[in-house]
């Protein structure tokens, strides 16, 4: 295996590589690390580390302050949710499935509900489609408010994170009004949703969106035109173009590498074909461009929520009549449904054997490829100080790796 040199032209402060420091690569692709040689130090980054989103460990081998080998370890969160669902009625699965990704539970609710509806051929009411899209975009917004400034947070610039988390709290307030829950919303269920917009919701939403507009200007000044941030992110953690397909890179990480990939555009679902936005792509594919893509996603999400609020119907049925949820047998078959989460394509593969409980529920989460195989490659050559910046730039969510 050859380790490609990073493009140093963009960042003069990047150090040059001295290949002699690196361990030999054996035929099986593993690095030949002889700790007794005193050339290397092995440290554990996580599982309990403030820079790790959720519990995941990186086993890093260092030469000096450079990472020469990285290995991702998961298993700290494993609660067997996919397996648990095989023992539950379909309706009982949805309080379980939200836990597959804590930060954005709504995508799990949507995909499980959609799988059931696809398999049993159920068309949901129009109002429910808009409300679903609204809750999905709100979830994306809540995540991006934390993630966009969070990238600077990994480099010890915590101010933006504080602003973002405050605004995220306001979105959670709105979630509480709409869904009855702050973190696990449990709003989208097979057949539709669990409530119409409360009175005055649109007005309160607009008030929060105005604050988020101001916030966007503020983080542009604080983070994206910031010499330190640029120096610490430009040219770091580059995903080479050829890696995008072979490593299954999706979402903002692919868009930052020049691939215009967005499930909402490529395979429109719900009412996304009625909304208007452009896919923002960049070419450099480093931490900085991924941050910029997410920064753009934030702007687009605010815009999409405004469009949804303007176009959605005021009332109507919220749920299609389904068979009795206590005996609901889903016809035999299998289905793969997908949606665009803030991290990229997020899909559910559901197999039904015709019984009341799913035979198999399998989550295709972007973190599986991003944080395990891809991250192990990106970290080689990196400075120890950049490790969690690179990891966060991939927007890793460990719960969806070990479900």
């Amino acid at each position: 295996m050859t380790i490609k040199k990073m493009d140093t032209k963009k960042n003069l402060f990047n150090w040059t590589h001295d290949r002699s420091k690196y361990p030999e690569i054996k035929e099986n692709g593993e690095a030949d690390i002889d700790l007794t040689s005193h050339k290397y130090v092995k440290i554990w980054h996580g599982p309990n580390h403030p820079g790790v989103t959720g519990n995941m460990a990186l086993e890093l081998t260092l030469s000096g302050d450079e990472v020469v080998h990285a290995k991702t370890h998961v298993g700290y969160l494993h609660r067997g949710f996919e397996k648990l669902m095989e023992r539950r009625l379909y309706i009982q699965c949805f309080p379980t499935c939200v836990r597959l990704c804590v930060a954005e539970p709504d995508y799990n609710e949507y995909l499980l509900a959609r799988s059931v509806e696809e398999l049993d051929n159920i068309e949901i009411p129009e109002a429910a489609k808009w409300l679903r899209a609204l809750s999905l975009e709100m979830a994306r917004l809540a995540t991006l408010l934390r993630t966009v400034p969070g990238q600077a947070g990994t480099l010890s610039l915590g101010m933006g994170v504080q602003w973002g988390v405050y605004l995220r709290d306001l979105i959670l307030d709105l979630f509480e009004e709409l869904t009855g829950g702050r973190v696990y919303h449990m709003y989208i269920i097979p057949g539709g949703v669990r409530g119409l917009l409360p009175d005055g919701f649109k007005k309160r939403m607009e008030e929060v969106l105005v604050k988020i507009d101001e916030f966007q200007k503020k983080i542009d000044d604080l983070i994206f035109t910031n010499a330190i941030f640029k120096k610490r992110t430009i040219g770091i953690g580059v995903i080479e173009k050829h890696m995008v397909d072979s490593y299954g890179v999706v979402g903002p990480n692919a868009r930052a590498a020049g691939f215009a990939r967005d499930v909402r555009k490529d395979y429109p679902y719900l009412i996304y074909d009625q909304l208007d936005w452009d896919i923002f792509t960049l070419k450099d594919s480093d931490v900085y461009s991924r941050s910029l893509v997410r920064r753009s996603d934030l702007r687009v999400t605010v815009d999409l929520i405004r469009q949804i609020m303007a176009k959605m119907p005021d009332g109507g049925d919220i749920r299609a009549q389904t068979p009795n949820v206590l005996h609901w047998q889903i016809p035999k078959g299998e289905v793969y449904v997908r949606s665009e989460s803030s991290r990229g394509e997020y899909g559910y593969y559901v197999v039904s054997d015709g019984s009341k409980t799913p035979r198999r529920v399998n989550l295709r989460g972007p973190s599986y490829t991003h944080a395990v195989v891809l991250l192990e490659k990106l970290l080689v050559n990196a400075n120890i100080a950049d490790v969690h910046s690179i990891m966060v730039s991939l927007q890793t969510c460990p719960p969806e790796i070990e479900r």
Binding site: R88, L89, I91, Q92, C93, F94, P95, T96, M159, Q162, W163, Y166, D169, D173, E176, E177, L178, T179, G180, G181, Y184, M186, G192, R194, G195, P198, K218, D221, L222, I223, T225, N226, A227, I228, K230, K231, D317, I318, R319, Q321, P323, N324, V325, L326, H327
Partner: protein, 595 residues
């Protein structure tokens, strides 16, 4: 890297002069949202303890515990919530069949005692009990199970008003499966059914299209499913938990659906009763009504040798002689009866105890006797003119219609009575008039007001569809007779039926009178029992309770240990009580003979 990149970040300092926003106290600044899923409250008076919340809870956080005395339609159980398990998904609220369970919008609850977090909402007092906000069952059109019944096909009034063919068409397979899907399997119905039929089990069999299994479940507790599937008083449907927020399940029609699907020839194969032998002790049964047939069926399965004595020419008792065939066709009675006879039960028709054979003879010829002789004596109002030859008892007329004996059918008839039998004779007379004259002239009048009439609502509605007039709330005063012929019935408006102590003492408004023209008056104000067959010798050892009913023990055994009595003369009156009595008496007789 531009100079701008070095300078702009410092603009953040301007925030120093801004108001601090990131310090929030959610408990005081803002209460929980109106829909917030906080802590459970339960309106325990509204809750019926159906247990759907317990079933749907994926975390097994809800247990049903005994809180109240169980009554019909109310298990007396109430949910206990364990907050060590609850995930606040509120599925329990969404599925609640009475909308009694909800969550308040409280955020926090502090207690030093861990056991506090396992509590019975609505019973264990909590500070949030009176909080009206929080998660409630979502609206609109949000149902976890079908709210409306499947429509039952029936003959249109113009198709049925001139014939006695069955008017209810029965469910198709699709309809039956959709109807069965609405069941929440709470089992509240089992307790309400006098025969305690395994209702959720046979509904499940319909849902899973397993007719044979359903049929077996029916016969566990009810050997007359074709009959009960048509004319049962369906106490199960009255208490059905699904009926609290929607329409109760059509349990009766589902039972009929199962029975209708099975061919008479397959009964023995499915019920595995081919090898039944009846060589045990001999038991005599008086009357082939529901109680007698039920006792005969279960005793035959136990191997006893059964003989039924029936005063009429056909089996079925009041089911055949009291219920018109448009509600219960004779071939369906035969289907149920023939199976019971095929188990080796012997039946002696046209044999009346006390006339053709005495009770004493039964005592010496048999090891035990079960009497289910029913209520076959019509009661008269006793008003002036009620002794006229054209004043009839409904039960006598219904008997004759069954036997195909011609009866007097004038153009104008008044029926006195507000029960189902009154509706039966009203609708039967309407049919006979339609056939004879091409028009209907029946008035049914009752003491009770329309909402208090004891007849089933659908009977009243269907009678009107068939052009009979149902005019309740009038008390009969006298029958006017001119030149030896009835001209009509004088009635006064009925103000109240019972006095303050609940005794029958109707009060009339003398100033509000009406006259119903009629050539014939039919009295249908209830039936009495004829215990004339019980000899003095036996009677002296029997104990009699209120209204002349014989006192029996839980197995329907009387003070005379070889004599068991059940059916309408003990409980009811209806078919399902008779079936339940017969079954229980069969167990009692078996115990008595094997002790």
């Amino acid at each position: 890297m531009a100079l701008k990149d070095i300078l702009t970040p410092f603009t953040v300092w301007k925030n120093v002069f801004k108001e601090v926003v990131s310090v929030k106290d959610p408990l005081n600044d803002r209460p929980g949202a109106a829909r917030y899923r906080g802590f459970h409250v339960n309106d325990v008076d509204k809750c019926i303890g159906c247990g759907s919340c317990e079933v749907i809870c994926e975390n097994e956080a809800i247990d049903l515990v005994a809180v109240k005395e169980a009554t019909l339609g109310n298990s007396g159980l109430r949910p206990m919530v364990d907050y060590g398990r609850c995930c606040w998904c509120a599925l329990c609220v969404d599925v609640c069949t009475t909308a009694s369970l909800r969550l308040t919008n409280e955020y926090t609850w502090v207690s030093e005692n861990a056991d506090d977090f396992r509590y019975i909402p609505g019973v264990d007092a909590k500070p949030w009990d009176n909080n009206e906000l929080g998660w409630k069952k979502p609206e609109p059109n949000y149902h976890f199970y079908g709210e409306k019944r499947q429509d039952m096909g029936e003959l249109h009034p113009e198709e049925r008003d001139h014939s006695f063919i069955e008017m209810i068409k029965g469910f198709s397979k699709e309809q039956a499966m959709l109807e069965a899907d609405r069941c929440v399997e709470c089992g509240i119905c089992i307790a309400a059914c006098p025969a305690h039929m395994g209702i959720p089990d046979y509904i499940k069999a319909v849902r899973e299209d397993n007719i044979e299994e359903g049929f077996k479940v029916l016969y566990d507790t009810n050997p007359l499913p074709e009959i009960c599937g048509r004319i049962c008083t369906h106490k199960c449907e009255t208490v059905c938990s699904v009926g609290h927020l929607g329409e109760a399940l059509s349990i009766r029609w589902l039972k009929r659906y199962i029975a209708d699907q099975v061919e008479a020839n397959d009964y023995k194969k499915i019920l595995k009763t081919d090898g039944i032998t009846n060589d045990g002790k001999k038991i005599a049964i008086i009357g082939s009504g529901p109680a007698g047939l039920s006792a005969a069926h279960y005793l035959a399965l136990m191997g006893y040798s059964i003989t039924i004595f029936e005063q009429f020419a056909h089996a079925g008792g009041m089911m055949r002689y009291g219920i018109p065939s448009y509600r219960l066709p004779y071939d369906q009675i035969d289907k149920d009866v023939n199976y019971i006879l095929s188990l080796g039960v012997e039946i002696k028709y046209n044999t009346k105890i006390g006339k053709d054979i005495s009770l004493e003879e039964l005592k010496f010829g048999y090891d035990a006797v079960f009497a289910g002789t029913g209520l076959h004596l019509g009661r008269s109002t006793g008003i002036p003119g009620s002794d006229h030859e054209n004043v009839y008892q409904s039960i006598d007329l219904l008997n004759k219609i069954t036997e195909d004996i011609e009866i007097y059918v004038p153009e104008k008839v008044v029926v006195i009575g507000g029960g189902n039998v009154a509706m039966d004779i009203t609708r039967s007379m309407a049919r006979l008039q339609k056939i004879k004259y091409g028009k209907v002239g029946v008035i049914a009048t009752a003491l009770e007001s329309e909402e208090n009439m004891p007849a089933d609502r659908e009977e009243i509605v269907e009678a009107r569809e068939e052009n009979a007039i149902v005019n309740p709330g009038w008390g009969p005063q006298s029958i006017e007779i001119k030149d030896g012929k009835i001209t009509g019935l004088h009635v006064n408006k009925c103000l109240s039926i019972f006095d303050d102590e609940g005794r029958f003492s109707p009060k009339f408004d003398e100033n509000n009178k009406q006259f119903f023209e009629a050539d014939m008056v039919v009295e249908s104000i209830g039936q009495g029992m004829d215990l004339g067959y019980i000899t003095e010798d036996v009677k002296k050892d029997l104990e009699f309770g209120p209204r002349g009913r014989v006192v029996v023990d839980e197995y329907f055994q009387t003070g005379v240990n070889w004599l068991f009595i059940g059916g309408d003369i003990i409980q009811g009156p209806d078919v399902i009580h008779g079936i339940a009595n017969g079954h229980k008496a069969a167990v009692g007789i078996d115990k008595f003979l094997n002790k």
